[in-house]
Amino acid sequence: MISLLKRAGTNAVLFAFALVVIVPLLWMVFSSFKSGPEIFASPWGLPSKLHFENFAHAWQTAGIAHFFLNSLIVTVATLVVLIPIGAMAAYVFARYPFLGSKVLFGTFLGGMMFPQFLTIVPLFFLMNSLKLGSYSLYDTKLGLTIVYIAYSLPFTVFVLAGFFQTLPKDLDEAAMIDGASHSGVFWKVMLPLAKPGLIVVGIFNGIGLWNEYSLALVLMPSEANRTLPLGIANLVMVEHYQSDWGALFAGLVIVMIPVLIVYWIFREKIHETMLAGALKG
C-alpha cells in the first residue's frame, strides 16, 4: 500500500513537472495561429481559427529561407572544425600532463567566465584588421565561424577532457605496445570510444550556435549574410513596433522547429550517451 502511494506520489510529481515544461511550448504554438488582437483578448484559449498567414507573413517579412541557409552553413562549418580540434586539445589535457597544462586548461575555462559583450569592441577591431588583400574578416561568414569556434572551445574541451579521462588508463599503453603512434592511438582507439561524448558536445554546441545572437549582431550586420536568430530578432523587434504579435510568435515557432527536430531525433541518443559515457567499465 505504501509503495503504491509512493508510486502515485512520484507519478504526480513527474506529471506536474511534465506539464510545467510542455504547457508554455504549446501556448506558444497556439498563439502563433491566432491573430494579433486575439492574442491579447484571449491569450489562454485555443485559436478561434487557424491563421496560417502568420507563418507566411513571418516567412516573407523575415526572409527566413535565406537566413536559415546562412545559419546552417555557419553552424555546420563551426562544428566540423570545432569537434576535431576540441577533441585533440581535450585529449592532450586529459592524458598528457605536462608542466603548465593545468594552467592552460584553467585558461580555457576562465575564458568562459568573462562577459562576452565586453570583448565585442576589441573583437571588432581585430576582425577589421585581419585582412587578405582588400577583404577583412568583418561581416563574413568565415569570420563569424572562426569566432564561434574560438568561443565554443572552452565548453567542448572541458566536457571532452572529462570523457577522455574516464577511459581506461592502460588502453593507450596496450595500443602502443602494438606499434601505434600517439596520434594513431587517438584517431583509431580513443576517439571512437569517446563517440558518445562527441555527440553530446556536438548537439549542445549546435543548439547554442543556432540560437546565437550577440556576436552575429555586431560581426555580421549585413542582410546578405544574416543568420536566423538575427533575422527573427529583427522580426520580433520590427513587429514589436508594428505590433503584429501573430507573426511574431509564428517567427519564434519557425526558429524553434529545427532545434526541436534535432533534439527529438537524438533524444534517445543523448540519453544513451549520458548512460554509456558514464559507464567507465
Binding site: 494579433g36 562549418a77 577591431f125 577583404y135 549585413s222 549574410n225 523587434m237
Partner: protein
C-alpha cells in the same frame, strides 16, 4: 599522424574557401569611393522604405553617386563598434539606444553651422531657414548645430472620442475636471487611465513634466533640466508627484499598469479597457496591426492644474536626430543628400506616407492622417514648445528618474522621497565632471 593532419588541414582550407566564397559579395565597395555614401537608419514604426526610396531618387538625379542605405531596429549596437574603430557611416539616424551626447562631447559629430548658412535646396534663403527654429535648437551645443531633426513627435494624452461621446463625457481640461470624471469612467467598467509601466519615460513625459510646468511655469522645468540646485525638489515637482500619487490612491490607474509594455497598455486602451493613455503621435502607426475593429483615437492635452501659473498651451515635443559623423566619409555629399531629404517636397511626402510630422516649415500643409491634425494644430498655436532632454544629456539622472518614477507609481516611494532622490542624483551630476547644459525659453 601526418596523413590525418594533412587531411584535416585540406578540409579546413576548402571549407574556408567555400564559406568565404559564399559571403555574398565583397565587403569593400567597388563603387567610386569619393561618390559613395553609407547611410544607416534606425528602423521603427514606419520602417526605412521612405529613406531607401529617397536614396534611389538621389542616385538617379546624380549619376555616379551610389548610396547604400541600411537599417535595423537595434542599429546602434552595430554602430557603436564602428564609431570606436573610426569607420562610422557618412550619415546616420542611430536611434534611441545611442548616446548622442557622448559622441558630441568626443568630437565624433560634425558641426553644421556652416552648412546651415548655405542656400536651401530650392535656393530661396538659407538651409537653416527651412527648419522650425524651436526644433533646430534642440540639437545645439555651445552655439553649434550637431543634431539635425528630421521628424518629430508630439506628446500628450489620447482618448477614444466615440466612447466619450457615447457616455456623454467631456474631455477634461483641468485636473479637477479629471478627478470628477474618473469615477464616472470606473462606473462604466473602464479604467480611467493606463500607462506604459515598463517604460517610465512615458509617465515622466505624460504626467510629471506637464504638471510641473502647469504649476510652476516653464521655468520650473527649465531649471531642473539645467540642473539648477534645488530645482528638482521645487514645490512644482512635489505637487506634481502628489497628484500622481492621488490618482494611484484613488484607483484611477489600470490595475497592473506597472508591468505593462507599451504595446500591452496601448492595446488595452484601444480595446476599451482604459479611457485615456499618455503617448506620442506615433501611436497610430505603431498600433495599426493590432487595432481592434472600431477603435478610434484622438489627441488631447494633459489636463492643466487649476490655478497654475504655467502656459496652458505649452506642448511637449521630441525630435529624432540625424548626425553626420566626423569620421564618416564624403561630408559634402552627405550634407547634400540630407538637404535633399529635407526639401519641402520630400518632407511633405514623408508626412503623408509615414504619418509623422517633420521639422521642415510648411510640411504640415501636406495631407496627413486624421489623428495628426489636432496635435499639429496645437503645435502651431502653442506659445511654449519644450522638450525633455535631461535624460539624454545626463544618462545617470535619466536612469534614476525612471527608477524613481517606477517607485512612485508602485507605491514604494512617497512624493517626498521621489523628489529627494532626484535632487540627490542631480547633485551627483553637478559634482561629476560632465558638461552641463542650460535650457531656456
Amino acid at each position: 599522424m601526418k596523413t590525418h593532419f594533412l587531411a584535416l588541414a585540406v578540409a579546413s582550407a576548402s571549407l574556408g574557401v567555400l564559406i568565404g566564397g559564399c559571403s555574398g559579395g565583397s565587403n569593400e565597395s567597388t563603387a567610386d569611393k569619393s561618390k559613395h555614401l553609407d547611410v544607416v537608419s534606425f528602423q521603427g514604426g514606419f520602417g526605412i522604405d521612405f529613406f531607401k526610396q529617397a536614396a534611389k531618387e538621389y542616385e538617379a538625379n546624380h549619376p555616379g553617386v551610389t548610396i547604400s542605405l541600411t537599417g535595423g531596429p537595434r542599429v546602434w549596437e552595430q554602430l557603436r563598434p564602428q564609431f570606436a574603430s573610426g569607420t562610422p557611416p557618412s550619415l546616420t539616424w542611430p536611434g534611441w539606444g545611442m548616446d548622442y551626447w557622448a559622441l558630441i562631447y568626443d568630437k565624433q559629430v560634425l558641426p553644421l553651422n556652416d552648412a546651415l548658412a548655405k542656400p536651401a535646396f530650392d535656393g530661396k534663403g538659407t538651409w537653416r531657414d527651412t527648419f522650425d527654429p524651436a526644433l533646430l535648437k534642440l540639437g545645439e551645443y555651445q552655439g553649434q548645430q550637431y543634431e539635425l531633426p528630421y521628424h518629430y513627435n508630439i506628446m500628450g494624452w489620447w482618448y477614444n472620442p466615440d466612447t466619450f461621446a457615447k457616455h456623454g463625457w467631456a474631455v477634461p481640461k483641468t485636473f479637477s475636471e479629471l478627478i470628477a470624471l474618473c469615477p464616472k469612467i470606473k462606473a462604466a467598467g473602464m479604467a480611467p487611465l493606463t500607462y506604459q509601466g515598463q517604460y517610465p519615460d512615458y509617465t515622466i513625459k505624460g504626467f510629471l513634466f506637464p504638471w510641473v510646468i502647469s504649476i510652476g511655469g516653464i521655468k520650473a522645468a527649465d531649471d531642473a533640466q539645467s540642473l539648477v540646485p534645488g530645482a528638482w525638489k521645487s514645490d512644482a515637482f512635489l505637487q506634481a508627484a502628489r497628484m500622481i500619487k492621488q490618482l494611484r490612491d484613488q484607483g484611477f490607474f489600470e490595475d497592473g499598469a506597472n508591468s505593462l509594455s507599451h504595446t500591452q497598455s496601448q492595446t488595452d486602451f484601444l480595446a476599451g479597457k482604459a479611457a485615456m493613455i499618455p503617448c506620442g503621435t506615433w501611436l497610430e502607426s505603431e498600433m495599426k496591426k493590432t487595432m481592434p475593429p472600431g477603435a478610434k483615437m484622438a489627441f488631447m492635452m494633459p489636463p492643466v492644474v487649476d490655478g497654475g501659473k504655467g502656459d496652458p498651451s505649452a506642448i511637449m515635443i521630441g525630435i529624432e536626430p540625424w548626425i553626420i559623423p566626423t569620421a564618416g566619409s564624403n561630408h559634402e555629399l552627405a550634407i547634400d543628400f540630407y538637404k535633399f531629404m529635407t526639401s519641402l517636397d520630400k518632407a511633405k511626402q514623408f508626412v503623408t506616407e509615414c504619418g509623422t510630422l517633420t521639422a521642415i516649415k510648411g510640411s504640415d500643409q501636406a495631407k496627413m492622417p486624421e489623428t495628426l491634425v489636432e496635435p499639429a494644430r496645437l503645435f502651431r498655436q502653442s506659445k511654449t514648445v519644450y522638450s525633455i532632454q535631461f535624460d539624454t544629456w545626463y544618462s545617470t539622472l535619466g536612469t534614476e528618474s525612471k527608477h524613481a518614477m517606477e517607485a512612485l507609481l508602485n507605491g514604494s516611494n512617497t512624493p517626498e522621497q521621489f523628489v529627494d532622490r532626484l535632487e540627490a542624483e542631480a547633485e551627483k551630476v553637478r559634482q561629476s565632471k560632465k558638461p552641463i547644459h542650460t535650457m531656456t525659453h
